[in-house]
Symmetry: C2
Subunit: 355 residues, 2 copies
């Protein structure tokens, strides 16, 4: 069962390869009759149509775009933010008849980085701009779009296009909101910045500047702006940072155990994502504490489920991020290629004035 090519058909029929090629791609370039005969013969010879890879090499386009995740793909399918983003992204791609490739390059897995080199795609999108995979993609000269800032505060954004929000400004609003409500003892729940870092550990005020410096230097910690913003917004409040683990509901819950079960728990908690905030709220309820009444909670993202949970949070247009990321990849001609979308502080029942 050897592979049949256009050349074979051409040889057998005594026509040129070009005629065969045209029979498949440009019906107007040959007589209807000849075309019919070519196609018939092709079927008869077991020809299965133009080879996708050869065509891509020749045309220089794959019409395929990759999405790269720092986590395993199971995360991409289960994290609510990721699912909403992916849905919007795929809707645009489908409408434009482009294909989607899913890539996973976990932080620290250098071998997996070769997936970026080997991806036959016309562009790559990623949630976080400074993850190694995105850096490599740019080195490869691929068009890239990322969806959260990941550079030191005040520095120039990284190379590549982006669709993001002003995370720092949003976080400042969160901090100020809590301060206005009178909260001065606050815990900030963050995800683990990189492998090897202690999971679920709390950093006390004295250690804070050191930790923040670490986050700033790690590079690919995309929620750094949120950390800084919350701290700045809170001013001189008594803050601790809890490194809670991966970005998940379970991490938020675990952080709750660390923070709630002590003599003087914080009066307010800020998580850098809604999933962690929701997990923290789970931990509250397990202890008979009512979010809002007994402890204020704030998240980031405004997931679909956050409204029902009464979670005060920063709304960000997740769907628009996904949609625009796809559009930027598909339309190289588009001029606005570094987009900051609006955000909004949504105050719900989970934050109240300190008692």
């Amino acid at each position: 069962m050897v592979k049949v090519t256009q050349q074979d058909i051409a040889k057998v029929m005594g026509v040129s390869v070009m005629t065969v090629s045209n029979a498949f791609n440009r019906p107007d370039q040959l007589s209807a009759d000849l075309r019919r005969r070519v196609l018939e013969r092709a079927v008869k010879m077991g020809y299965t149509g133009p080879d996708a890879v050869a065509r891509q090499l020749r045309s220089g386009r794959t019409n395929t775009f990759a999405v790269v995740f720092e986590e395993r793909l199971s995360y991409a399918f289960s994290d609510p933010f990721s699912v909403v983003w992916l849905t919007a992204f795929s809707e645009v791609m489908e409408a434009r008849r482009a294909s989607i490739m899913l890539l996973s390059v976990p932080a620290g897995d250098t071998e997996a980085l070769s997936a970026i080199q080997d991806a036959a795609v016309d562009g790559i999108a990623g949630l976080c701009g400074d993850q190694p995979a995105m850096v490599r993609a740019r080195e490869r000269g691929l068009p890239t779009v990322y969806c959260t800032m990941g550079h030191p505060l005040g520095a120039e954004p990284l190379a590549g296009d982006y669709v993001a929000i002003d995370d720092y400004a949003a976080a400042v609003e969160v901090g100020q909101h809590l301060r206005r409500l009178g909260h001065t003892r606050v815990s900030l729940l963050v995800e683990t910045a990189h492998r090897g870092q202690a999971v679920l550990r709390e950093y006390r005020p004295a250690e804070l500047s050191g930790l923040v410096a670490v986050y700033d230097s790690v590079g690919y910690f995309d929620t750094f702006h949120r950390v800084r913003g919350v701290l700045d917004g809170l001013g001189d409040a008594d803050v601790t940072i809890v490194v809670a683990g991966a970005n998940s509901r379970a991490s938020g819950q675990a952080a709750g155990a660390l923070v709630l079960d002590r003599a003087l728990p914080p009066t307010a908690v800020v998580a850098v994502s809604d999933v962690m905030a929701l997990g923290f709220m789970d931990a509250c309820r397990q202890r008979g504490l009512e979010p809002g009444r007994d402890v204020s909670v704030v998240g980031f993202d405004d997931l679909p489920e956050s409204a029902a949970a009464g979670l005060t949070t920063i709304h960000q247009p997740v769907r628009d991020k996904g949609r625009l990321a796809a559009e930027l990849l598909l339309d190289p001609e588009r001029t606005e290629r570094r987009i900051i979308l609006p955000h909004e502080l949504i105050v719900r029942s989970s934050t109240r004035p300190v008692a």
Copy 2:
């Protein structure tokens, strides 16, 4: 910014193209020193590494596998069955360093079928074996794996490898289970078989054989075996079939409205999927009816959330389906290529003897 190739580097350095290629792929084929110089020069000239497409053409392998859905991709990311399957599938692919391409070929969208022809992949997996996209994939000569049977009962399975369960046998068990509990007035909730078919319509006993024949002939209705099995298992019960719409919670709920709000509602309802069954249970509760007590409900699949809901259902190993599908694609040498996995009737609180 013109593209730099190995040829350019070779020319500039006065070495052969092969040496440059070897510098990247086979370090042992040239001196360490020369290799270093080549790589340095490559960077200096802006060479971004071997071109993925060219390499694929040359090697004849893409190391990429597609998953094709009959629905929009948003369904793939939101339907619980799909998410579990996809998770297992991707875990295997990731472990083997293969990439995943997601394709959507909605039923009836013939233009979208070209995506199958244009996919640069080494194989394709799909939930349903007889969907047009899978047929086309086989015509193209690609290895395929599907995960539910989709051929007329008693006929030979379609071409291609599969990982499925014996849906007919499972459905017979469901029918017998209900019959044993004394249920003789039953509604069967099915998803819409094809476009153009009436959405949310109930078929009365007299119309049944006609409808079943339609489903049998439509071809790509993969739950046909379940319909037949439930009917056979129920024997001479008084059955109606409700075509509920797409496979979703909302459809199940809508079907509930049709079936529950009348003088003589069924004493039991079978849905061909858990999501529809769960939706139907929602409809019950909205009317103050308790599933199990007031009306028995059975589903198919045994999703993670079904246990908590107390839903009697057919357990099928969804994760194993996804895992094995990936393994079949990755291991062409494997001999067992048509796998029937075990299923199990899980009786929970949603089915009870008829009052």
